[in-house]
């Protein structure tokens, strides 16, 4: 079948994570032929050149040495390998070529999809069976960032019925180490500079005034003579409970 599996188009935050990805379900892709086939997802590591899979009729592809010098798991995959058999077990991936998972009956992919259904497949969501050899079709988390290619295959009791094309390479996220995060501040803000400078100036002025005050008034501190060398005619009276009149000497 000439269908290419793709990542989901929906804006899902978990579309690609470090060990899972989300595919569109293969709705309206396979036709029911004979008894209801099971649709399996095959996941393989992508690497180098790959052969454009078997033809739709399910002719066996000879599994021989490859023409390229790099191991291409997608090219090595033999679609006639039945799912849930050891060559396609999740537990030995990626040492073997590929694994098959998410096997489900075609009736679970009704065509056309009812509106409102979220038609996605999350690859890598089962964590409990990833080490369990009794579950070779485990949908376990992917062991590395990939890149991976996937395809759907349809099997029924008489063998392989149909297969789709290989998808584009899917590369998962790789997490960065948090140690490299730069935490130095973004520099001084203008508000802080203004505040600091104005306050410093005010404080300096006050200190200067105090020093001037003490220096010029130290001779008259506590003594009885008054200080009026300036021309200022205003003088401050001591406030007593009874009135005292201005000292006329200040006027002279």
């Amino acid at each position: 079948v000439s269908y290419t599996p793709t990542l989901t188009q929906r804006p899902l935050a978990g579309r690609l994570t470090a060990s899972t990805f989300v595919l569109e379900q293969p709705r309206c892709v396979f036709e029911a032929q004979g008894d209801a086939p099971m649709i399996w997802l095959v996941v393989a590591l992508d690497g180098g050149r790959w052969r454009t899979g078997a033809s739709a009729t399910g002719r066996a592809v000879p599994r021989g040495p490859l023409l390229t010098h790099r191991p291409a798991a997608t090219g090595q995959f033999d679609p006639n390998t039945e799912p849930e058999t050891p060559p396609l077990a999740f537990q030995t991936f990626p040492n073997n070529t590929a694994y098959a998972t998410l096997g489900t009956s075609l009736s679970n992919y009704p065509c056309p999809p009812p509106t409102g259904d979220i038609t996605v497949l999350r690859v890598g969501s089962e964590t409990t069976c990833s080490r369990d050899p009794n579950r070779p079709s485990c949908n376990g988390p992917l062991p590395g960032p990939g890149p991976y290619r996937v395809k759907f295959v349809a099997w029924n009791s008489s063998g392989l019925q149909a297969e789709t094309l290989w998808s584009e390479p899917i590369t998962l996220l790789k997490a960065q180490a948090p140690d490299n995060l730069p935490v130095t501040g973004s520099g001084r803000s203008t508000g802080m500079i203004v505040l600091t400078s104005i306050l410093s100036i005010l404080f300096a002025v006050l200190l200067a005034c105090l020093v001037a005050l003490l220096v010029t008034c130290s001779d008259s501190w506590g003594s009885s003579s008054f200080f009026s060398t300036k021309a200022d005619a205003v003088s401050v009276r001591r406030y007593n409970t009874h009135h005292v009149y201005d000292q006329p000497a200040a006027r002279l």
């Binding site: 899902l12 470090a18 997490a175 995060l181 973004s186 520099g187 003579s225 009276r237 406030y239």
Partner: protein
């Protein structure tokens, strides 16, 4: 004469008014700083773990400065009324000391506010949230504080991570080393929870379907209160100090004119 008498009286009245305002501002400063120190948003553990909690130190200084301003303003009023040189000199010197402390508090609050960047909180969250293998008791306490604070933040503000749930995907973390990526692309608190604090749709949350998880980041919920605290302490203190500057200048002038 009467005119001089009046101008002296007016000046005295102005100084007394200035001191009354200082006293009231002192009470307000104390109240504001007590409010900040009480940490109503529960964000102090984040700063403590980042060893950058000086905006709280600034608030503590503000409490005591507020009391000092209140008592000194009373002293100033008495000194002006009695025109006593000794009292006023004591007042001026103590006010200058208080001025210096308040200045330190304002500058500390303003400066340390600049250190609180998103990356600081992001790095701390990634390194300490749900950290299990802690080195010593101090590390354990800080990590637990950070974990509890983040859980509260995410629950109450319906947010996830510092910038968003992608923080948990983009960076490795202590959380990631104990919780597998497939089961926990982000912590459960990032999911929309029902009344019993369990996710309303766990698969939807793991997939990241809008509506089942919190997609916005928590940075606004952190920086908002901290900004308010830092700028509240810094700028209110600045305003008080400007007013105090004027009153002190006036008092010094008054002091120089007192006759014996």
């Amino acid at each position: 004469m009467a005119k001089d008498d009046n101008s002296v009286r007016i000046f005295q009245g102005l100084l007394i008014l200035g001191n009354v305002v200082i006293g009231m501002c002192g009470i307000a400063l104390t109240a504001e700083c007590i409010f900040f120190v009480s940490d109503p948003h529960g964000l102090y553990p984040l700063l403590e773990a980042a060893e950058n909690d000086d905006i709280y130190a600034a608030a503590w200084i503000g409490i005591f400065v507020g009391f000092a301003l209140l008592s000194l303003s009373v002293l100033g009023i008495i000194g002006v009324i009695k025109s006593n040189r000794t009292l006023l000199m004591v007042y001026i010197i103590l006010m200058l000391i208080t001025f210096a402390f308040e200045m330190a508090s304002c500058i500390t609050a303003a400066t340390h506010r600049d250190f609180l960047t998103p990356n600081l909180f992001l790095k701390q969250m990634l390194e300490r949230y749900e950290k299990q293998d802690t080195d010593n008791n101090n590390d354990k306490l800080m990590s637990e504080g950070v974990t509890k604070t983040w859980n509260n933040l995410m629950l109450q503000n319906h947010c996830c991570g510092v910038h968003g749930p992608s923080d948990w995907q983009q960076y490795g973390s202590a959380f990631r080393s104990t919780h597998s990526d497939a089961d926990y692309p982000w912590p459960r608190q990032c999911c929309v929870l029902d009344a019993r604090e369990s996710p309303i749709n766990l698969d939807g949350c793991k997939l990241g379907v809008p509506g089942y998880y919190n997609s916005n980041g928590c940075y606004d919920a952190i920086s908002g209160p901290m900004n308010r605290q830092a700028w509240g302490v810094a700028w209110f203190g600045f305003a008080i100090l400007c007013w105090t500057f004027l009153v002190l200048l006036g008092t010094m002038f008054y002091w120089s004119r007192i006759e014996y």
